[in-house]
Symmetry: C2
Subunit: 335 residues, 2 copies
Amino acid sequence: MRCVFLIGGGMNIAIFGYGNLGRSVELNSAMNDDMNLVGVFTRRNPALVKTSGATVYSASDILKFRDRIDVLIICGGSATDLPEMTPALAKDFNVVDSFDTHARMAEHLSRVDAAALSSRHTAVIAAGWDPGLFSLARIYSESVLPNGRTCTFWGRGVSQGHSDAIRRIPGVVDARQYTVPNSELYAEIRSGRIPEGVELNAQNMHIRDCYVVAAPDADRGEIERRIKTMPNYFEGYETHVTFVPESEFAAKHAGLPHGGSVIRCGSTSTGERHTVEFRLDLESNPEFTSSVLLAYARAAYRLSSEGSYGCKTVFDIAPKYLSPQSYEDLVAHSL
Amino acid sequence: MRCVFLIGGGMNIAIFGYGNLGRSVELNSAMNDDMNLVGVFTRRNPALVKTSGATVYSASDILKFRDRIDVLIICGGSATDLPEMTPALAKDFNVVDSFDTHARMAEHLSRVDAAALSSRHTAVIAAGWDPGLFSLARIYSESVLPNGRTCTFWGRGVSQGHSDAIRRIPGVVDARQYTVPNSELYAEIRSGRIPEGVELNAQNMHIRDCYVVAAPDADRGEIERRIKTMPNYFEGYETHVTFVPESEFAAKHAGLPHGGSVIRCGSTSTGERHTVEFRLDLESNPEFTSSVLLAYARAAYRLSSEGSYGCKTVFDIAPKYLSPQSYEDLVAHSL
């Protein structure tokens, strides 16, 4: 896996798939001095893809770049793209993805591992913030506090799946759904008190706050009713629906903020209580996710250089592999 | 390093040094099902050391246990004990310590590494919460947000060094010093706004809150003056001194709470701002530190079993080595 065509030193990365996430990877790669962006690979017609400067290639040409790419960052969707793309590309490249379908994680891991091991490549999957940094918060806090309970709050942030679900209702022009932590429960758990006798679940820990642009002739009452009763998405949640004019929607609801908290409340031998919280407050979900992908791309490159092949998750990777700093600097300044 | 004398399966640990921290390691080892506590080693007369059940041995007998201890947890002080103990013991044992003198970290690492490598042992140093978990918060957040700034707040918590310094003033019977974050700065930075034009330092980020039991005939004004003007410890800090009767001191200031926050505020390519916070709220500093040491003792044991020798810090150790759970369970439930 030595790269024969180094552009200006450092590691050569490329982006496979160019939506919101791919665009953010392109822009944020420039913030990492040790990375050179070879280009963007798309399944669309390359002539129609407008990047912020990166050269665009056809996905069908990817194998011609086998010797020029140290790590390929795969920016597809978890539902249908990544389950196919990541194992296929791991046969010829070191790869990183942000696969986030928990129910299919073990299967994805196993398929990518087989592909990467057979061809001596390194793959990192699920390298975003949840799964990703939140998973790290869980494993560290649970390892040091074996007796305790972990809660995850998501938000305030845009759920694209829920926004899409609202948009499919007749009469809806556009919609944004914010997942919002129940502020009383959050404050209580953050202070180390997990309420007794209350079963905590996604429904009572979160509120769903919806902003909807309705067509002029639409029945707003009916739209609101259909949102609030939608199974799997809204049913069982405290849901707020606010209709807004298109201009306000464009001005106030164009961003993709997100974040949340992983909180572990535990106790040690003589009953002392301890609270560990890891919290993210993100103005842009794809911008932050792309930054996590880039740090794990660095790790994939280094692990591959050391001959550590196969499929890894954040649990397998020592923190030093993520940092551009030398080990001496890390010990001196970050330890 | 295979253990020839396994007590009931799992890994055999022992404690070297029996103060507050050693006592907490003893008690919390029982919360880890995969650990057996072989005993406590003390430099004092073993007959005079009262444990919570662990057998007490003389430190001078430690080499007789070379084949019975998988990991030795060294619970000495960073000032004079650990710089000698950890390199010496790493010649014969896998070891873990919570060395916390930043200025001497590189030297300690190098001496322990030489000792451990020469005898094919694994050592983990600086495995507490700062250095330790806070160091992890720094390396992860700085790796994913290369453009940003990291702030560390300590407290509210007892600083034993500052409490000791007050106790050395004539007329002081007992004292507790709490380090308290400046609540306005904390709230501002936590919300992602690092004040412009203000040089942030330990002095303006923290308040020093002192509770003092004075001798009946002591000059309280003079005690307060001497505290507030003490160089290195209090000078330059906002310092509050409260005199309390001995009974109130015993009732309210007997614990050793601590904690704090590592906050990184950063921005990505197109100016979006992101805040990452890792926060600890600990009712007992030694209880929590001992829990971190135990998790890293597990990691030391596993790394040694894999033939990964030498001195490690938290930066070198993949998170999976800390957890008692199987990798399959981690992927299914924590990823």
